[in-house]
Amino acid sequence: MKKSTMIDLLWVVTRRDLVLAMRRRADVLTTLIFFVMVVSLFPLGVGPEMDMLRKMAPGVLWVAALLSSMLSLGRLFSADHLDGTLEQMLLVPQSLSMLVLGKMIAHWMVAGLPLVLMAPVLGIQFDMSAEAIGVLILGLLLGTPILSMLGAIGAALTLGLRGGGVLLSLLVLPLCIPVLIFGTGAVDAVSSGLSVASHLSLLGAMLVLALVFTPWVTAQALRISME
């Protein structure tokens, strides 16, 4: 076997999922629109005072990102499950974890990355400083992949269940709390003039941990759900 087989597999799966997502662009857009809408609802709900909005902004953006990434997780495995592709994927001789990692990366690029790119615009709406927006984006860049990866475990466990979407959020949201805490913590730290290194390092550490463990756990969950 060639040495590059694993990377090839990763690339093939990621590319396939990205192509599929681009064929159904509306799905990508709905997630993004949902994110923008949830964020826009907060000023309407709590009032337009700029001081308060500036303080709330990181929390609001992070919670909205969390919710919108939950929204698209149901589709991560369900389409492949319905047309039987997933069963074929379980049978391939290469590592299932690697295949799952490819799907996670594709999911992040479709559901997470647009949110990160959209965040600065919403940050300006909330009158965040340029520095705070920079840290917010860094935090989101480190944090949203973790959300996709933790979410993949939930998506695999709830595959094909009635009411899977709500159940999925119930399972995954508590696990995402550390990401939320350090993501918003970093922005709060920069706003109060403290160092952001510790928060971002912790987010990075969680990303590495998630990269190591979640593909394997998701692969196990898929095997349990498909047997």
């Binding site: 466990l157 269940l161 508590p174 550390p178 913590g185």
Partner: protein, 247 residues
Amino acid sequence: MAINWFKYSAPTTFYSLAGKLIPWFAVAAAALFAVGMYIGFYIAPVDYQQGEFYRIIFIHVPASILSMFLYLIMAGYAAMGLIFNTRLSAMMATAIAPTGALFAFISLWTGALWGKPMWGAWWVWDARLTSELILLFLYLGFIALHASIDDPRRADRASALLAIVGSVNVPIIYFSVKWWNTLHQGSTIKFSGTSMHVAMQQAMFIMLVACWLYAIAVILARVRSIILERERHTKWINELPEVKHVA
């Protein structure tokens, strides 16, 4: 004589063993609850700072300790069920979850009752309260996942995996919430000694043991019900006197 360590890992033998053990644990739990409450309410002195309000710790602290330990025990059984594929382990994990959730809820509820006179607020977003709340969410997620999968085998395995992922996450959640905010009073019982009155310690310890015994009795009773439900088509269940009598 060789001892068969795995004799009671089969539902058949465990069912009758659990039936024999339940009355002992239940009676002991009731007796210790009575003794603990008596010491807690009548013998333990009034606290010079918190007045009579502190007495809620006699249920609050055991409930918090149990809610955390039961999650770990549940995850342990779940892992055993996944690794060794034993039916009983998965049933135990399922049986523990509601009791664990109950204790997490009691801990939150009594904490709120204590917080109102002490802090002037039913709820504060402090590290321990928040992580206890998240623990309750983890229990509820486990129960919900198990309940929504019809095939018991898949339900066992899927929720077992969730419990293991949750238990890996518990320390991360705990420390992240702790760094996020700390307002709760520090631990009173320290390894170097304690600032508590002896009667208070005794009452709390007795209540803790009573809660453990109660939890064991209830979990055994629940696991018996689960065994009856899951194995209802087998011959040995239908030959049980209590089943025959009803049928």
